[in-house]
């Protein structure tokens, strides 16, 4: 498929104040009403206070540091008491049935946990007898592509991030897995980190899981 630009266009009208001629990062953008001709990036950035974006980025990095440091009990501090932690499965479907390639909620999933159940998984690791993680994997969760968008409620944010989780265990065993997290995070000044994850959907980039287990948190 080839794309050709039309060399004969003569449209050079840029007099509208809200055209795409406004440069990226314009500090006055937030104050300006978002019109139909505002570019997507300006709209996204205007919707979220940069201080919040910075806080949530740090929040996600601190979360995985706790995991990589094997402080699983502290990991629970990042989650609301009424949280949902869900990781659907994937299958390969033909194009006309592609909408079904990710499992629906309440069908197949690797995790479908409330806070009590997450704690149960953490408690299992804390027995130091969960032999699949005893001694624990040396893991490194690399979180990237963090995008914060406004949620529906006040003080609520939808945060997408990508992960590259590497681990090694024993002498020769190593593997990695990538995927995407979609989080709904709320501001809660009374919480340990000032924010709490209400919902997390983890989407692994595998149909058949090509690693021997999913014994970390993601």
């Amino acid at each position: 498929m080839t794309v050709t630009t039309d060399p004969t266009t003569t449209d050079t009208d840029t007099t509208d104040a809200n055209t795409t001629a406004i440069p990226f990062g314009d500090p006055d953008a937030a104050a300006r009403p978002i019109g139909a001709t505002t570019d997507k990036l300006t709209a996204l950035l205007a919707a979220v206070d940069p201080a919040v974006e910075r806080a949530l980025t740090r929040f996600l990095h601190e979360e995985v540091q706790v995991l990589d440091d094997w402080k699983w009990g502290e990991w629970l501090d990042f989650f609301a008491d009424d949280c949902l932690y869900w990781a659907p499965t994937q299958e390969e479907r033909l194009a006309r049935e592609r909408s079904r390639h990710i499992s629906a909620f309440r069908t197949s999933a690797y995790f479908e946990e409330n806070k009590v159940q997450l704690k149960q998984r953490v408690d299992r690791l804390l027995t130091n007898q969960a032999w699949g993680e005893e001694p624990p994997s040396r893991a490194r969760h690399i979180i990237s592509n963090i995008r914060v968008t406004k949620g529906i409620a006040e003080d609520e944010y939808v945060v997408k991030s990508n992960f590259y989780d590497y681990r090694s265990i024993g002498q020769r065993s190593q593997d990695s897995i990538t995927g995407e997290r979609t989080d709904r995070i709320v501001r809660d000044p009374a919480s340990p980190w000032g924010y709490l994850i209400k919902e997390r959907r983890v989407l692994f980039d595998m149909s058949i899981i090509l690693n021997k287990n999913l014994s970390l948190f993601y």
Partner: protein
């Protein structure tokens, strides 16, 4: 061909590590086990409507399993007869035909070749599409909701293959009038020989109390955990084993509480009308759920994770696991069963995750020559074997923890690997029990 007779010492309960490591032995398994045994292909609930299909495997051979227009199920090798491309690459779906994405050869639901591009202009007149349909799985049998298949035209009927294991399998899959349905599906790869996994539900209930101690410690009362604490050192229960290598075990006396299933299932089955239904279908003495394996790798656990494992070379296997629920149970019961399995016996499962480590290390260590020769011990055979004891057909013993069923599995494996046909295999079966010659009076089958 490797003669593995020297590698499996049934009488003394010793197995050489070579049978889990050697490439030549593995190739022999593909020929003598996987081209011959009955394998579970699909359940009705996975392909309910005509045109529904799914991909699976028999051994390393990819197959398509397809619901036909007349309601029957057919299976064929998922390999284009032209140049060997995988005909269908989707895991499942609904179709009217399957077209290969290489040169466009097309097959119907039964695997018959229905279109070859340029057949009229580029192929000789003698070319007959009818000669080049996808390779059919020649024997398909339906058993209580499940479809089984084998490549071997001379295999005994599936129910004969089950033999005395039928009684125990029915205890899992034939309890409810409305049957079962599949509600979840998970797949993962394990870096170890397939026989490590097959042996576990066949004969190794014991590993759970150490391997899975962390899960037992944290799970709620009413599950495996609480029962284990109360069970004591020698819990009541039985182990069974059958011809062709099937085996399993369960805790509890007949009619008693069934551990290894969640509270939701127990509550559902305790209801009078459900209990009556089960008793009507199976009889009063059919509390046999714990673990079970139908050789080679059709495994069932009493919490209704039901899986097969596909061999992937001597050092790897691919587990395909489904969660099943009673079709007519209330939605909240079904959801509870589904979540119970999800959290315990899927790749992140609190039980499943720990088995992987055992098997990975076992496989890795087999690289060592001395380790391979040292082999493994199956000498926990103190439990007296009973044959056709009371209501329990085939071999069994009144002890949950025993290597008897594993010995039986490997004795049958040895027979399969050293027989050139089903006929020869059946003759051997008539002569052995537990791999040992039967008494003279019983030799004549």
């Amino acid at each position: 061909m490797t003669d593995i007779t020297e590698l499996i010492d049934i009488e003394n309960g010793r197995l050489s590590g070579k049978i889990f490591y050697d490439q030549e032995i593995y190739e022999q398994e593909l020929e003598k086990v996987w081209k011959r045994a009955w394998c579970m292909l699909a359940h009705d609930s996975m392909i309910p409507k005509k045109g529904d299909y799914l991909q699976t495997y028999i051994g390393e051979d990819p197959i398509m399993v397809v619901r036909q227009k007349d309601g029957s199920v057919k299976a064929f090798l998922n390999q284009c007869r032209h140049r060997g491309m995988r005909i269908c690459r989707a895991d499942k779906g609904t179709a009217k035909a399957f077209t290969c994405s290489f040169h466009g050869w097309a097959y119907d639901l039964a695997g018959d070749l229905i279109q070859v591009p340029r057949q009229n202009t580029a192929y000789p007149e003698t070319f007959e599409r009818g000669d080049f349909g996808a390779v059919r799985v020649p024997r398909i049998q339906y058993y209580k909701g499940f479809w089984f298949g084998t490549w071997d035209k001379d295999a005994p009927d599936f129910e004969d293959y089950l033999g005395s294991a039928k009684y125990y399998l029915d205890g899992y899959i034939d309890r409810w009038d409305g049957g079962m349905e599949q509600v979840a599906f998970h797949r993962w790869v394990l870096p170890n020989n397939w026989k490590f996994m097959a042996e576990q539900p066949t004969s190794d209930m014991q590993h759970s109390e150490i391997t899975h101690i962390s899960a037992a410690t944290v799970l709620n009362k009413g599950s495996d955990a609480a029962d284990r604490t109360l069970r004591g050192n020698d819990p009541v229960g039985r182990q069974f084993f059958a011809d062709f290598g099937h085996g399993g075990a369960w805790y509890g006396e007949k009619g008693a509480e069934v551990p290894n299933t969640g509270q939701a299932m127990q509550a559902y089955e305790a209801q009078p009308e459900v209990a009556e239904m089960i008793a009507r279908r199976l009889g009063d003495d059919r509390e046999v759920r714990g673990h079970l394996n139908i050789w080679p790798t059709f495994m069932l656990l009493g919490n209704y994770t039901i899986r097969v494992t596909h061999p992937r070379g001597p050092h790897e296997q691919e587990v395909w696991a489904w969660t099943f629920v009673p079709k007519d149970a209330p939605e909240e019961i079904k959801d509870s069963i589904r979540r119970d399995v999800l959290r315990t016996f899927t790749p992140a499962g609190m039980f499943e995750a720990d088995d992987a480590l055992n098997w990975e290390e076992m496989q890795h260590i087999l690289k060592g020559k001395v380790a391979r020769e040292t082999g493994y011990l199956y000498q926990m055979v103190g439990a007296p074997i009973q044959w056709d004891e009371g209501c329990y057909p085939g071999g069994s013993s009144a002890h949950v923890f025993s290597d008897n069923a594993a010995i039986n599995m490997y004795a049958n494996y040895l027979d399969m690997m050293t027989s050139d046909s089903w006929e020869e295999l059946m003759e051997k079966r008539a002569q052995h029990r537990m791999g040992l010659p039967t008494t003279p009076a019983a030799v004549q089958a």
